[in-house]
Subunit: 375 residues, 2 copies
């Protein structure tokens, strides 16, 4: 038999498979309807196991695992269809960013966070500076600021743990996201003087360690890059700092060396946080965190649901579940939570229903936000 | 119709579905065989798209997405079967831990890392102390130590970024994993004296911030908890440190307060690193990192392969791809790498073949290790 002949036979098998699949989906719909009428729970895992065992016993030995996988998928797809059928669209309130808002920014003038605030809100925003990320969250949750801007991820250093912890503790929302290129420079008060010591944020020092080690500079950690710049501007000329060009200019420093980071491409991603959910009409990123009973099968089934709703996943991370969430989810067996970003809008009917169902089905579920990237 | 009647019809549809599925899988096998004989590439994405479009055009409108999903799964399962059929088992060399090895440990005596070294290797190992994680990696890759022990994750603080970076840069292997409970205590030289200031590693200070803030203690960061303990032992009595009970004892300090962390349950996970792959007979955790062209569909398909091979995923994390890996994978479109942990052994035929195929199919792929948890 040649390739064309075999393919014709495959096409014929597919046509019959499709017919049978349609028939089975219609029967499942009838089961769901029947159960709904009688007030029975629609999804029962006992029946699923029974079906899979029956299949496995009938399948040829070499296809047993494959058949189990196929039929568990058929049942997942059927559940996706029924969930959509049984769920009603829930009106979502879309809102816009406040004009001329007050914005809580961590650090001091000249920081990368300030750059992010200006990029996000322009010159009309009132920026207030706070010592810590926690104070930024407190300012927003206490109503003293409309928005907060905090770093969540650096392309070199990874996730900003403390921001995740604060998001978990404060139950606030992400209403925007943006990236700031991190171009580290070496700044001094007077270029003609020798450099004895370099100060900066620990991460900035680490990101430039190749440059620093080669020149044998002594290093000292500062709370952040702009505090380092301020320190240099107020002290003797033998100290240098690592900061941004913007920051050096702000503190009247001279640039001693440019592009000193070991890795050329370096950016920090910031999120804008708000007290209430604020989704704009053209918001196209959705972030959720949720718990699943076990990782393997349940993650796969979760992705089936996303895939079914045509959603494109852009990030996934499993993290240890914090104790206060463990308490809330009411079970010790939920030990992991997932952070997921995917493309979509909560006003899209299919997404809207999916989120409602995730909320109902997951031990722990929280919509972190529906927002867009500010370019 | 009652529930039993509908279910009988479903069972009948399933029997016929299973038959057709078997028929289709047999046809796919013939295609693969034909192509292999003729030296043609076995998997062609063009043909897949064609099949899916044909299905979508024939499916009832309300089942279009569901049918596409089903048939893309059928083709994935068929590929899994063929990959297993076409791949030959590759002999894996299993090896055991060296007796009385030399072990590179970051920090100084009394650190949590030292505790991990002792737990992993007992009292017969020769432990050498190094200033940084990087020096530990250098010692192992340079042959000055048989193994290194480094923290990779803390249940409160999350992933240890620098260890991930070093794993990415050094191409070394993980050959063991263990967890050490982190029980922070407050230690002083003399319990009868008032405490003015508390020093410790930044993370330890943060993990005990509730305790410290309540008492209004001044805080200062130290390089690590054991250096803090050493400092306290050598200085005036008004300084306290946060460290482990083991560490306090080692430096002759008194315990001023126990269990001072905000969150009771706290542990650090360490990995043992080696220069060569070292998998023991009963190793049951596999760690890989790999790249996928896009996240959504391709992650889903990847999980199909794990699911097909009966593998239980225990961890997943998408991370920004480091530039040197981006260069190696030869494409700018691979912007994310996944870190995956799953249960299994590289000597299991199905897993063995899966890993070979992942290596062949992924732009970037690296087996990080096959090891077990030391309890």
């Amino acid at each position: 038999m040649n390739l064309d002949d075999i393919r014709k036979q495959i096409d014929s098998a597919d046509s019959r498979l499709l017919e049978l699949f349609s028939e089975r989906m219609e029967l499942c719909r009838q089961v769901a309807e029947y159960k709904k009428e009688k007030g029975m729970p629609v999804f029962q895992s006992g029946r699923e196991k029974e079906v899979l065992n029956k299949i496995a016993s009938k399948a040829p030995a070499e296809l047993e695992a494959a058949s189990r996988l196929l039929f568990s998928q058929i049942m997942e797809i059927s559940k996706c269809l029924q969930r959509e059928q049984l769920t009603e669209y829930k009106e979502t309130v879309l809102s816009e960013f406040k004009k001329d808002p007050s914005v809580a920014c961590p650090g001091i003038k000249g920081s990368y966070s300030e750059e992010a605030c200006i990029k996000a809100f322009g010159d009309n925003a009132r920026i207030d500076y706070y010592d810590s990320f926690k104070q930024v969250f407190d300012a927003v949750s206490g109503g003293r600021a409309d928005y907060g801007v905090v770093p969540i991820e650096n392309s070199t250093a990874g996730s900003v743990e403390s921001t995740y912890k604060l998001l978990e503790q404060h139950e606030m929302y992400i209403c925007g996201r943006l990236s700031i290129p991190v171009n580290h420079i070496l700044a001094v008060r007077d270029k003609s003087k020798a450099i004895e010591k370099v100060i900066s944020h620990e991460q900035a020092l680490r990101q430039c360690s190749g440059f620093l080690d080669k020149r044998g500079y002594k290093q000292r950690a500062a709370e952040n890059t702009s505090i380092a710049a301020k320190t240099v501007s107020e002290s003797g000329e033998s100290i240098a700092c690592i900061c941004s060009a913007h920051c050096a200019k702000l503190y009247g420093l001279e640039i001693a060396a440019e592009n000193i980071a070991d890795i050329g491409e370096n950016f920090t991603r910031f999120v804008i946080i708000s007290k209430e959910l604020q989704a704009e009409k053209d918001a196209d990123i959705i972030s959720v965190c949720l718990s699943l009973p076990h990782i393997s099968g349940s993650l796969y089934k979760l992705l089936t649901r996303f895939y079914f709703s045509g959603l494109n996943l852009t990030r996934i991370e499993s993290r240890h579940m914090p104790p206060h969430i463990k308490k809330k989810s009411g079970s010790d067996s939920f030990e992991v939570i997932f952070y997921l970003d995917f493309e979509g809008s909560i006003s899209n009917p299919s997404v809207n229903k999916l989120l409602q169902n995730l909320k109902a089905d997951c031990g722990y579920y929280r919509l972190l936000g529906n927002y867009k990237e500010i370019l």
